[in-house]
Symmetry: C2
Subunit: 129 residues, 2 copies
DNA sequence: TATACTGTGTATATAGATATAAACAGTATA
DNA sequence: TATACTGTTTATATCTATATACACAGTATA
């Protein structure tokens, strides 16, 4: 079972962190339901072409945070998460991402109008929306 | 002379990289003009409460990329950069930041409408714009 | 029961990021 | 000329991230 996640090697964010964030997004948005199995750490490491230690680290963090649970010999499954928490996670993550992008634009001396226009044009040119 | 840059310790992006990006933004947007002096690596390290090695790394990378030049004993100065290049840098950096934020929203299954609304509300609640 | 998978623990190694410290060389000013 | 600044070099150290490898223990299936 493949997860729709992608790793950017040029990003300065650690790989395991990228994996974590993307799995969280899938869970928070309901694309991964409670109880559904995740790929094994070995399978995921092959998919993403990273080492098992890296995928394992991501899963460990997610488990520590309560998003997944792993059973030795069986695998790893999405945990049961309060829907209100999911909503909050969604909102927080997306808000933070957008805010940071606005920060970057402001740092570059973009006006409100310019930011809005560029954003609109980028949003409109997305083929997946 | 203090630079209006801030370091986020929780960000997973290396500190020197954060410094680089923010100085680039200042140069690209004209907030730092050709020839103007940057704070010494020691002064900057004190301002930002990071080590000299870290600020030096940022300055070295910026120099390698042609944005600044340093003279031993004198200090570090903004280089002369083609205005077209500045424009391109601005546009690329801001576009990339906004695109990545949209990616995050999409990962969280946000619709175009939701993204737009959240963005608008975040933009409107900015006190600095 | 053997095989193929699962997670867990451990080891070794390398690269990157960052801290602190000291010394050297160059510049500027009182 | 001494002092205070500037960048440069070097050293030591620690932590983090990631790679590869191996072995152990648990589960599932043919």
């Amino acid at each position: 079972m493949e997860l729709p996640i992608k790793i950017s090697q040029q990003s300065r964010e650690p790989i395991y962190h990228q994996i974590e964030n993307q799995i969280k997004a899938l869970i928070a948005s309901g694309q991964l339901q409670t109880g559904s199995p995740l790929p094994s750490i070995r399978a995921l490491s092959k998919d993403l072409e990273v080492s098992v230690i890296t995928t394992r680290r991501a899963y460990q963090d997610l488990e520590y945070q309560g998003f997944i649970q792993t059973l030795q010999g069986k695998g790893t499954f999405v945990a049961d998460i309060n829907p209100a928490l999911k909503q909050e996670m969604k909102h927080d993550s997306v808000s933070q991402a957008l805010s940071q992008a606005i920060d970057t634009a402001v740092q570059h001396n973009y006006s409100k109008k310019q930011i809005k226009e560029l954003f609109q044009s980028l949003l409109d040119s997305r083929g997946d929306l």
